[in-house]
């Protein structure tokens, strides 16, 4: 096999040098009762060429790859500048591991530091970690962290989180014995905070929420007492929307996929996590910090490690080891490439195109926008007739839209959610409207 480097002669000489007569002797410590039960997979090896061809055949069965994408829910079809992937393919980055040895990991550590800075800039927060697995586990970790700080044993969460995020949050909260109180939305689609209990550790909002509606954060902190405010934000929206940090948010999280990552059928993704500086010791995950070397020159190293598993073990507040470093690098290079100006431009294009499409759809007979709250890139339309049938018809015409089921879990019936990015051309938007209105 070409991934192995020995000749048979090498192997014989090495065995002799070890002082054993066969390879099997090296495995003699596996108990016979275990070895006897071993069964192979029944899988014969194949050449690289055959494997490439097999996978290309499977890829050809993925018709979703060709569809015009109006699907959303946290993962979006944004444009990634070519340069992003070229940097990711630098093997010094992608074949390295966690920077345990900082002197040979300044590339990873410096980009982690840049990433943390960029996340702070976008969210308006003091500190950020070097990434978590995805936006959903970031929300879950935020809930656990908030309860470590406040110790009230329950949290309040907007019912308008994406359902897949909520499912992960619920799993982590169940395991931690943390109660979850759900907050309803008002008719405009915004979270109704009037019923927030006094004894919760945190209130978790998502903005834009599962209806695409932007949560007005002004004054929220005052309305929730001393509970911590956790906001899950769409990072590209922060190119035009006010940063949650400015409204006193305590923890800001998000799904970083829009920042230069492929949709990847939902993984790998990128968990963003930032907080107020005073909570640093409770933040989960890796953090890169600036220091100096023996000559006094600036360098970077993993910092605040006393929270972590290799120092505190069973008292650790974080079990995060491998996380999403290369995805964080992609986001860093993406943001460095587009710059603040380009990020704003992408965000504006999303807003303009989404509103153009929403206006055109709202003008169609029988269609309406049920929520009056302001939206960014994603919105809900109530449709005449059977939403499932319309959804299927759109798929048939080559338009990918989320299933009506993603809204049914929120009690919103007869509706579709539509997401628009800078990639959608006017021709595609108009074609979509034609299919909605004219029946294709």
């Amino acid at each position: 096999m070409r991934y192995l480097s020995h000749s048979d002669a090498d192997r014989r000489e090495m065995l002799a040098s070890i002082g054993v007569s066969s390879i099997d002797e090296l495995f003699a410590d596996i108990p016979a009762a275990v070895a006897d039960r071993f069964r192979p997979l029944g899988l014969s090896g194949r050449s690289e060429q055959e494997v490439v061809s097999t996978l290309a055949g499977l890829a050809a069965r993925n018709r979703a790859a060709e569809a015009v994408c109006f699907a959303g829910g946290g993962v979006y079809d944004h444009y990634a500048p070519s340069l992003v992937d070229h940097i990711l393919l630098r093997s010094e980055f992608f074949t390295a591991y966690t920077p345990y040895q900082p002197e040979v990991s300044q590339g990873t550590l410096t980009t982690m530091f840049e990433f943390q800075t960029m996340v702070c800039e976008l969210t308006g927060m003091d500190v950020a970690n070097a990434s978590l697995y995805d936006g959903a586990t970031a929300v879950a970790e935020a809930a656990l962290m908030a309860d470590r700080l406040m110790r009230r044993g329950r949290i309040a969460v907007a019912g308008s989180l994406f359902p897949n995020v909520r499912r992960v949050l619920d799993t982590y909260c169940w395991a931690s014995g943390l109660g979850v109180v759900e907050l309803p939305h008002d008719p405009s689609g915004v979270c109704d905070l009037s019923g927030v209990p006094e004894d919760v550790s945190a209130v978790i909002l998502q903005s834009p929420n599962a209806f695409g509606v932007i949560e007005p954060l002004d004054g929220v902190k005052e309305r929730i007492g001393d509970a911590l405010l956790v906001v899950s934000a769409h990072p590209i929206s922060l190119g035009v929307l006010a940063a949650p940090g400015g409204f006193g948010a305590d923890i800001v999280v998000g799904e970083g996929q829009p920042l230069g990552l492929p949709m990847a059928y939902g993984g790998p993704l990128l968990g963003l996590f930032a907080s107020k500086g005073e909570y640093l010791r409770q933040i989960p995950g890796r953090v890169s910090g600036r220091t100096v070397d023996a000559d006094g020159n600036v360098g970077y190293t993993m910092a605040a490690q006393t929270r972590e598993q290799h120092i505190r073990r069973e008292r650790a507040t974080s079990n995060i080891c491998t996380n999403s470093a290369l995805c964080a690098l992609a986001a860093t290079v993406y943001l460095a490439t587009v710059g603040a100006t380009g990020l704003r431009r992408v965000a504006e294009l999303c807003v303009e195109k989404a509103h153009y499409l929403a206006d055109r759809i709202a003008a169609l007979d029988g269609f309406e926008l049920p929520f009056s709250g302001a939206f960014f890139n994603e919105f809900v339309v109530r449709v005449p007739g059977d939403a499932n049938a319309l959804h299927r018809r759109l798929l048939g015409a080559g338009f990918l839209v989320d299933s009506p089921d993603v809204l049914r879990v929120h009690g919103v019936e007869d509706a579709l959610r539509i997401a628009v990015t800078e990639k959608r051309s006017r021709e595609e938007l108009d074609g979509f409207v034609d299919h909605l209105g004219g029946g294709g």
Binding site: Y3, L4, H6, S17, V20, L26, F27, P31, A35, S44, G45, S47, E48, V51, L58, A59, R61, A67, Y79, E92, F93, F94, A96, Q101, Q106, G107, F113, E114, M118, V127, Y133, N164, T171, W174, G177, P216, A243, G246, P262, M263, Y265, G266, G267, L269, G289, V292, D293, A294, V298, A303, E314, A316, C321, T322, A325, L326, T332, A336, T341, E422
Partner: protein, 484 residues
């Protein structure tokens, strides 16, 4: 070290994205003023060549598997096949929205289903979830399954997890994050779990044990069947950390040793890149009693059609936004298809051969506290090498010779530990050179100890002050400080 924030921002024509082709009335008429951003994030606008040069320069300060020998113990830094990268970038696999209907992603569901079957076969266990995206995430998911199991059985007093003192640090951390308390069980003189101590701890408050096979000393738990039988007899469950799977591929299966949950590290054993710290993947395989508790959605097969099943009445729920790290899984799948049974066995054979060869070459120079044939890795001690020289100094001196240091100061049961895992992809020349360099460093330690204590001398930076980073954390660019 220059960061991207040290470059002056400059005016740039915006040609990454097309001009808007829709009529618009302007942002402030579409979204209320109070919701809009008034400040500008301090991310510079730079030319593309500037950005490329900056990140290329940074990449050169890093050390990856393609740069040379990377014997980081327990991390299995094997070669990452190039074809993996090509496959994972196929638009038909990469450009897929996760909420697309199952009928539109049949190719991906097919390989995910097949990969699950193959992983179940390697583990010798009936249920698999691809959802966990890292080893520690697999551990956490496994702890959730334990919790569910005892909740369903009404044995909620089982809140303790036992683990050997040689365990990976993520094991106790994952158990703690999942709300269990942790009790350490000592190792015996041979470095294996001490059966008497284990027996004493096993009572009605124990949910289970977390084991690593072979353990972090690279030693196979000879008594593994006795251990798992004892735990099961006491009503507990057995978690197996799969970090060291590379050493028994094609020869043994965790399910046959009594594992109830086993996690894979696709980024270790199955050749997907480590990415500088992820994304990896940590799928789990589970025994029959735990199958119903696995995360949703699950991929179901009906003939040649595949579907996602979100109904799992007993399920713990979900641990990831969608279906795990699909593009990591596809790399592992491609690797498995290429290797087949024969290749898997050959991988373990060369991995174990390489470790034993290095161990035999180095044990006369460095202390080998547990002197036995090892599996895929072994642990030396840098203690007593020379007066005033530590394992940290040896590690930093290796950098001067162009070699990535091993894992150091772990496992905790060996003083001044150097944990060395060569992997199967290294040839004899690389192994011999490493052994030569290690011998030379041992001589330097005796004759010129300052060479080690001041190392590295030939790295992008000199030894970094980690204590300062901990004491006085600077975790983001200080924009207000004059540029360095």
């Amino acid at each position: 070290m220059r960061t991207i924030f040290d470059y002056p921002s400059h005016e740039r024509s915006d040609d990454l994205f097309p001009k808007s082709d829709v009529p618009t009335s302007g942002l402030d008429r579409l979204i209320d003023d109070g919701l809009l951003r008034t400040d500008r994030p301090r991310i510079p606008d730079l030319s593309e060549p500037t950005v490329v040069r900056h990140y290329t320069a940074l990449s050169k300060l890093n050390y990856g598997v393609e740069d040379g020998f990377y014997p980081l113990g327990s991390c299995t830094m094997k070669y990452n096949p190039k074809v993996n990268e090509t496959i994972a970038r196929h638009p038909g696999l990469a450009h897929l929205h996760p909420l697309a209907d199952a009928e539109l992603v049949q190719g991906t569901l097919a390989f995910l289903h097949h990969l699950s079957e193959l992983l179940g076969g390697i583990a010798g266990l009936p249920g698999v979830s691809l959802q966990p995206v890292a080893g520690a995430h697999g551990e956490l998911t496994g702890m959730f399954l334990f919790k569910k199991h005892f909740e369903v059985r009404g044995e909620t007093e089982r809140r303790r997890i036992l683990l050997p003192d040689s365990a990976h640090g993520t094991n106790p951390a994952s158990a703690a994050v999942a709300g269990f308390s942790v009790t350490q069980v000592p190792s015996d003189d041979e470095g294996l779990i001490d059966l008497q101590s284990l027996m004493r701890e096993l009572d009605g408050t124990v949910a289970g044990v977390m084991l690593t096979v072979p353990n972090t000393l690279g030693l196979f738990e000879r008594n593994i069947l006795a251990v798992t039988e004892m735990v099961h007899a006491a009503g507990g469950l057995c978690y197996f950390d799969g970090a060291n799977l590379n050493s028994f591929l094609g020869r043994a299966r965790p399910g046959d040793m009594g594992a109830d949950v086993f996690h894979f590290n696709l980024h270790k054993t199955l050749s997907t890149p480590h990415g500088g710290g992820g994304p990896g993947a940590g799928p789990i395989a589970v025994s029959e009693p735990l199958v119903d508790y696995l995360p949703v959605p699950r991929i179901e097969r009906d003939g040649d059609r595949y579907a996602l099943d979100w109904d799992g009445p007993g399920s713990i729920g979900s641990v990831h936004s969608f279906y795990g790290n699909v593009l990591v899984a596809v790399r592992a799948y491609a690797y498995l298809l290429q290797l087949g049974d024969e290749g898997l066995r050959a991988v373990a054979e060369d991995a174990v051969l390489n470790a034993n060869y290095l161990q035999s070459r180095l044990k006369s120079t460095y202390l080998l506290p547990y002197d036995r044939l090892c599996k895929h890795e072994f642990v030396l001690s840098g203690a007593d090498l020379a007066e005033g020289v530590s394992t940290l100094d040896v590690a930093k001196r290796l950098i001067d010779y162009g070699i990535h240091p091993p894992t150091i100061y772990f496992p905790l049961i060996v003083r001044e530990a150097l944990m060395i895992e060569p992997t199967e992809t290294e040839g004899r020349e690389a192994l011999d050179r490493f052994a030569d360099v290690m011998e030379r460093i041992a001589a330097e330690a005796r004759n010129e100890p300052e060479l080690l204590r001041e190392a590295p001398h030939r790295a992008p930076v000199r030894r970094l002050d980690q204590a300062r980073a901990a004491r006085n954390p600077v975790l983001r660019h200080p924009f207000d400080e004059p540029s360095s």
